[in-house]
Amino acid sequence: MFLVEQGEEVEAQMKRIEATKGVIGTLVVDPDGVPIRSTLDQSMTLQYAGQLRQLVILARSAVRDIDPQNDLSALRVRSKSNEIIVVTENNYLVIGIQKLPEPDVSMSRETGSPLGIEYPGWLQKEGSDGY
């Protein structure tokens, strides 16, 4: 029973991730290298699966060569436009591709607000009144 619940939970989690703003796609690759789940089109899926699998093997080899008792858990590749996040578990690869948010250059120190953070509408920051 618990396994079924867990399965549902994971499904719900994956769907949430996919629906997150900024996420271009997700995919899951099984230990044999076959993509079992993907939100991208077929060609892209195969490309990502193939390339990232090799990269993971290389990274894992590097990590374990230094200390055989260690193992790779996650790999993040940041590029100019995207970030590819690969998380490994039981030789499965869970891959997410996220578009990096636009870097904010504005820095206004006078009002004390930090690096251009966008406040939601309902939040109004008032300094202490009358002091």
Partner: protein
Amino acid sequence: MPVPNNNAAFARKGSNVQKVPGAKSTKAATKKKDEEEAVETGTGWEEWSQGKALVRPPDQMELTEAELKEENTRILTANNPHAPQNIVRYSFKERSYKPINIVDQMAVHFVLEGSLVHQDSEEARKLGVLALERPTHSVPLSVNPAVDGGDVEEAGDEDRPDSAASRINKKEPKVTNQFNFSDRASQTLNNPMRDRICQTEPPPRSSFSATANQWEIYDAYVQELQKQEKNKEKQKGTHSHKDNGKSKKVMPMETQSEDVTKWTMASKILERTISQNTFDDIAQDFKYFEDASDEFREQEGTLLPLWKFQYDKAKTLSVTALCWNNKYQDLFAVGLGSYDFSRQGCGMLLFYSLKNPAFPEYIYPTSSGVMCLDIHVQYFHLVAVGFYNGCVAVYSLKEEGREPVYKSTAKTGKHTDPVWQVHWQSDDMDSNHNFYSVSSDGRVVSWTLVKNELVFTDIIRLTLTGAVSEGPKGAQAPSIASGTSFDFHKQIDYMFLVGTEEGKIHKCSKTYSSQFLETYDAHSMAVDTVKWNYFHPKVFVSCSSDWTVKIWDHTINTPMFVFDLQAAVGDVAWSPYSSTVFAAVTTDGTVHVFDLNVNKYEAICQQLVVDKKKTKLTHVEFNPIHPVIIVGDDRGYVTSFKLSPNLRKKPKAKKGHELPKGPEVEVAKMEKLLSLLREPDQNSG
């Protein structure tokens, strides 16, 4: 032919100094003669016609008659015509080339080496075996047909015994080649060679390549170890077979859902990573941003909004309780329910992590609204929850299900009114966990988790006038006060405070169930929260819907400090890092932060954090280690804020003294403040 002889035109006469060669070179002599003597060629044709008697070879040299008559003497000498006659050697003594007169004239024509050895010669002595062994070993002739030494016929008889001897008697020095034999080979007819080829099918081949890394070696060893262990287990017994049978049954069930559950953790980590990227700027602020303008603001501070936590299904509910987890300091619990009497529906218990603000980590829906919760200080998976319907329950985060591990029912002594506060206590003597709850029905109850049940014990009954022991006659109709909040002393275990709906605060002891130790006339309306100070053992704070926050010394009946906040105060909390800092939230959406060390009369930070008209703030909690507070409101949102440096001030060190650290400092700080107040009290009272 006669023509070429015409060309020879040079005359050399009297060249008989040249030695005439011996027997061999007769032809050479004639040729030389031809060269030496000039040839006057007459008309060759005439001579040819004359020469009927003589048969002349056509290429014979033509000579005149005078020349023909000329007699040439030939001398036969023993000189070697091939020997050089004009050897010249360089003499270093005279520094010139000198001719050598005496030249070796010997010419060797033929050499044949024989194999006879004189018996008296040295060689024969060396082959001395010959002489000794001859007579004795004639018998083993037939034994040894193979003759080493080859085909020498003469010494045949002698050879064989020798060879036999050499083989039998190893004492004699073995002479390997006694015979100086010579090979005489003869070539027989060679048969023509013919190739015969036969080709088989090549064995199947496959190429194999592997790398030998550190980890491959390690893996191989680990596998070996496992194999060995398995062998040992097999040897031990057949018990394993039974277990295998059971496990096999379990397997097929798992394979169906195998796919997804294999990577649960991975997807979780992915979600968190993505949310970290999305909220990257907030995460950076949380960690690193310090409001620089605080330097210019003297005493005031600000709250920097960080993450906002909301859950779709909780939109209609208001936050009724907040609690940080002590061990996993990014995890906090939110209790959701409703303060509105008329709108009572279901509630929820949510756990959020700062690492993933988008979605709660754990969700527990409840049938009745959650009014309060508390996470056990040591056993971080145990959460005590009090409900609007008077029940209390204990959830365990380790369990998979959505149901509480323990729940109280009407039989087991649940409250008859909403439970306003629960608090874990230290384990009792049987090391059972227990917690306390206070409710509007006037009871303070202790619940103990015994095996699978909740056992309750009434600790005290709150009454309006004072705790009254239940008389049999009921002469005094005990009007029950409603407890709305309580807090246990941090150091003195048995002492606790209870705030009531009537505005009174009672100081009670666990051991005295009938009497209060003390009562304070605190507020004009219900006391929403009482909290002991983390550091100073005597100080506590209380807040109420009558717009005030009061700070007390429990030995004194009147409050030390009173703050009027212009709106009903929902909650107040001490900060864990300073004994003089506390925060209060009001229903007008403002968070007030006070630091008594800095400003005794007013808040050093008053910040409107939510939309003024729509939402009311209900609870506030400080994070144990990070400078972050979470604020819950009645819309089901929880917002986190970072405290600016001004709000986190520590006492400055005097020059020359080291900055003192530790709770003693905090206590001393508070004590200073109190003493200032106490003196006028003492003076006046």
